[in-house]
Symmetry: C3
Subunit: 507 residues, 3 copies
């Protein structure tokens, strides 16, 4: 086309002159233009390739960071339980990742992001069939898998130290393979009925803004854990005869701190990574305004919320309990992170500090409530992820900034934003709907499952097993052997807790 019109325009002009030379000149100029167009196309394609490479690099390393949170969970859980149940809880954490990998590959990812689909559940990409497709590359699957296993990890903390291993295998598969993927479809897939990414027909003309999963991940894990812990009842000895709470201390604060820091480290993949891409300009191309800056801001808001929550917890617990407690500070920190996760990309750094301060209060309040109602959650997971996650969704509805909302969720000018920022109440309505729907869905699926497991006697271990510790009775021995028997030939086991062994074998 371009060549023809070029020659058509130029030939009459030069055509009057010496024939061959004129034609050569015209075709030369036209050829050059054509050549230039081809070169621009090549440059443009190369720029597309570059963007693919940069964005994939960003997404993959974010996915690796999110995966490292699983290590953080494992260490946090291990340190928070008593030594006699360490093997059990670590095994659940390893299996969250391993079983989650298989299930999410087979159908979880398809339920969550299979596109095109209806608003309730996805129905493509089973076994990664059809991947890579535009917008759905392998790196995206890996990233979403790392999220899915995090939700299961939360729940296993709530019901630690008293759950049969078979029960764990069943609920974990169900949660990772069905309950969680459906929720993530609703709020994160472009087809989800409440998603803020929908092209049209947004819930309350807004959609729920749950950027990295205060609701989708943390509330889901927390509420599942809540029902599990409630139905199982407290651990033996957690409340004494008069009903007073007795602290059953975890066996290693070092592992708790290690796990907390690893979770913090991984959260930099969780929150900023949820942009999925980094090479995208917001302002005019070539300016400093772009997703790269929003990604950095998200990392900053995440950091500040956690820091504020940690400091608030430090001083709050000092006033309440009289000592400076590192494990409480760690939990406060994580509560701040769980809360900021929903709004991390759309709020100002100063608002993140408010988010963290309130999250610390929410966590302390939930723990008071739990103690009052004799609810026992060894890792405070229901309170932390459920309570602070809920606050995070409300917080987003209050403090989301107009410019950031429109940059992160583009294409709907005039969409609502934070109530306190002058954006009206429609976003708040959408967020409240999200809270109710998640609470309802998880309760309606996981509650009956736990009840069913209890009915069949598969849920809770026997009292003897609980006293002796699951490691000894189910997992082949204790986790630690610091003191040798010095007579390795005298038996096959080489257990450490001599007293525990004898106590367990006598009944």
């Amino acid at each position: 086309m371009a060549e023809q019109s070029c020659a058509a325009l130029l030939l009459p002009v030069v055509g009057n002159l010496s024939g061959a030379a004129a034609g050569a000149a015209a075709s030369f100029i036209c050829g050059r233009f054509e050549n230039i167009t081809a070169q621009f196309e090549a440059v443009s394609a190369q720029l597309t390739d570059t963007a693919s490479a940069v964005d994939t690099t960003y997404l993959l390393f974010s996915a690796y960071l999110v995966f490292s949170m699983q290590l953080g969970f494992a260490m946090l859980c291990a340190g928070s339980v008593r030594a006699k149940n360490t093997m059990n809880i670590m095994l659940t954490n390893v299996l969250d990742a391993a079983a989650g990998g298989i299930f999410y590959y087979l159908f979880g990812f398809a339920f969550a992001f299979g596109s095109p689909s209806n608003g309730f559940i996805g129905r493509h990409f089973f076994g990664l069939k059809g991947v890579p497709a535009p917008g759905y590359d392998y790196a995206y699957f890996l990233y979403q898998w790392a999220f899915a296993i995090a939700a299961a990890g939360i729940t296993s903390g709530s019901i630690a130290e008293r759950t049969q291993f078979v029960a764990y295998l069943i609920y974990s598969s169900f949660l990772t393979g069905f309950v969680y993927p459906v929720v993530s479809h609703w709020f994160w897939s472009a087809d989800g009925w409440a998603s803020a990414f929908r092209t049209d027909d947004l819930l309350f003309r807004s959609g729920a803004i749950d950027f990295a999963g205060s609701g989708v991940v943390h509330m889901v894990g927390g509420i599942a854990g809540f029902w599990g812990a409630l139905i199982e009842g407290p651990r033996i000895g957690r409340f004494d005869h008069s009903g007073r709470a007795v602290t059953l201390r975890g066996h290693s604060a070092s592992l708790v701190v290690l796990g907390t820091f690893l979770l913090w480290f991984g959260w930099y993949g969780f929150n900023p990574g949820s942009f999925l891409t980094i090479l995208k300009s917001y302002g005019p191309s070539g300016s400093i305004n772009g997703q790269w800056s929003a990604v950095g801001r998200t990392a900053v808001t995440t950091t500040l919320a956690g820091c504020a929550a940690a400091l608030t917890t430090l001083f709050g617990k000092r006033l309440l309990s009289g000592h400076w407690n590192v494990t409480d500070v760690c939990n406060g920190l994580l509560g701040g992170f769980a809360a900021i996760t929903a709004g991390c990309s759309v709020v100002e750094p100063w608002a993140a500090i408010i988010c963290g301060v309130v999250a610390a209060g929410v966590l302390i309040g939930c723990n008071k409530l739990a103690e009052k109602f004799r609810f026992d959650d060894p890792l405070e997971a229901a309170q932390l992820h459920g309570g602070c996650g809920t606050w995070g969704l409300i917080f987003t509805a209050l403090f989301a900034k107009e410019r950031y909302v429109n940059e992160v969720y583009p294409g709907h000018p005039g969409r609502p934003y934070g109530l306190f920022m002058g954006g009206g109440g429609r976003l708040l309505a959408a967020q409240l709907v999200q809270i109710l729907v998640i609470a309802g869905w998880v309760s309606a699926t996981m509650g009956p499952l736990f009840l069913l497991l209890r009915r069949f006697g598969l849920l809770r271990i026997s009292d003897d097993d609980e006293m002796a510790g699951m490691d000894l009775t189910r997992h082949g021995g204790f986790a630690y052997v610091y003191h040798d028997d010095d007579s390795p030939g005298d038996g096959a086991a080489g257990f450490k807790h001599k007293s525990a062994v004898s106590r367990w074998s006598s009944p």
Copy 2:
């Protein structure tokens, strides 16, 4: 050139007209074209720079991840040995990295990748002289160093709890500085005789496909460990008088799980990182087909193989031993990773699951065999890295997919691929040659070395030392002091295991030796 021809073409046309204006017009048009050409050259150079930056960022962070595996090894090894030998094994892991850094800088990298060279050994880049050269930047050295120290780390697990520290220093230097670099030259350097990257004269017109090192890293480390553990013999108490195996439990399952997860984390640098670059298009430029997608696929196959192996081990060991054991699951997981490492970039995700399931079986089988022949490897390193690594090479020969093989190893259309995928047996032949050659080379170098060390009495520690623990006798005290003496002024040492200390004194007194 272009300018001259431009003016030559245009001047006759406009030259008939008013002289000066015509010349100005012609030179204007020609100047603009020239200018545009320069601009395209600038854009192209900038795109090259961008590609360098993106690829180096990718390679460097992959190298950091691989390095974090050394931390994983240290924790895995520490948790898998008894408390009394923790300091010893952790020191070997720190030194694998530290001594490996110096040796690999001085000559290891040169032996492995010095180019141009013959097919057997490299001979440039000693002390990084001549680096950076095209294709050989500092980031590449760092990445390869992180691989080299991993091989040494595997071996130190096999001979844990009973090896003299001097023996460790000697074999570790030899392995990292010579044995491993030569193997990596054969299979990974563009000059290597069996490399799939050769430009011509491929082994069986195929070359061995060992993408990230099931053979080059894991088999080398595992076979070296096999000979070490075999020549040293089992630990005291590992097999009782009737020859029945006695489990000598590691002292901390928490450290084992920590190490396993860190290795998993680092494996994302090991396997996907082995592409070295990420900005490379496979299909037409501008499409979604490119190395970025292959890198993601590799991460997915790696994950799935490990997950499948872990689940297989969980249920397999439940049937065999009756309990759900987390350390076994961790080992199974690592076995799956070791197996998928060779073919991670050229197989489909579903094939990776098969790879993992079989790898778990291979590991269980190897462990049964080891127990039967009274072979004692405290970390199952020889079984895990040697056995599963071997299976990984065979698996690749069976399941490598044509399209992926041609994308990852381009330039040889019609090259063979997986036997079960219809690609013929030539790849399998190349892989079997690789297995035999690696086994032969490592046995021929490391076996005599260990025998020599034993001959000079440098290999194994004394029975007394082994009973007391190496930490006490060689490394200045135990790793843990959970219980204070509460009277810190009463002695310089502050040992924890009072009973252990007194026991040692008694034992040595009983033997009539000081």
Copy 3:
């Protein structure tokens, strides 16, 4: 402009001919040229966006790595103290990061990098107001925050096991919020009076080269720790009645090794990350010479310095103390890293090995001195970060290579470089000024603060508390509960160290207090 001149040039030529067609031809050609110019502008803008994305990706992941050093510090500190003070030291490490985050956001970043400003202190960007601005994006704040908390982490090691928690809160806030930001302004801000990045008026026409902070981070943390540890005095039992040093062993070597490896891992963000960008060409665009290569080289020099220091320490301590000690090797390794940090980007790899070897000697010497003068630093932080950091600044002045200095600190051709490389003594002068100024500033601010805290009785805990351990008396119980009481209903605490508990009760009873 371009269009007008285009039409003006072309119209006279074609104008002689048939009017309309000529005008169409001219405007066609001119339109095409115009169009091409627009396209080039778009490509150029897209390349700028790509560079922003690549550089931010690089900087953010480097920041995450540097943050992981805080975990490394926590584990290193935890393992290096006695079990009874583990909770205390870990809490300080968590709070270094948390309190540091708030303070650095509110004013620390503004003091350090608020631009434009005078040479002494910055005065913009309070509460990140005005960010993002060109050159000051959120990722840059995050990166600098991760550095700031590292300095505070160093100091908390020096005064471990005997400091009141309130004193920690006060000095830590002061250090992270004021002392450190001011120092970093001097040497790293483009406005700083001694910065090598200044556009003009460089100190000694050179500026001090402290690339990633041997002085700014390590000396600051080390000297602050020195004064703290000196003013507090040694721990009870550290020196016996005759003044002989008694080793108070840390409670877990596994945690020490874990922390060391994590610090090593994080150092790859600390040193290579300090380039802040990776997409920048040094040579002609499109060649292999660029910041990507310099970043890789920096990672290599960092690695080699640490490795050389570790090996030197291994053999040095073997000769001195007779055993192979893993915690000493870990400290030596970290000393090598602290030393190379200043010059990592401007020296050759071989020079890094020299740096590491000497750093190991410096650390051993400083430890000997500390023991002689009965200076007690539980983590050797003052010796390690202060001593090796000082050596690092001098080393840079001796071995900085001309080409690298001009690439990393461009715009001042003929600037001085390493003395031994033929670059004259002016860089050495600038580095010596830096050493003196940092030592003076930190002493003048932190020294009086610690004295003031002592005056008000806020600095050191009581002897009873120190014997019982701070975890029990201040932090709600011990860090470890390996042995259950098996009767969880009988008490609220569930402490482990029964003997410790009873001892505390006895002690307090003896004092006539409940």
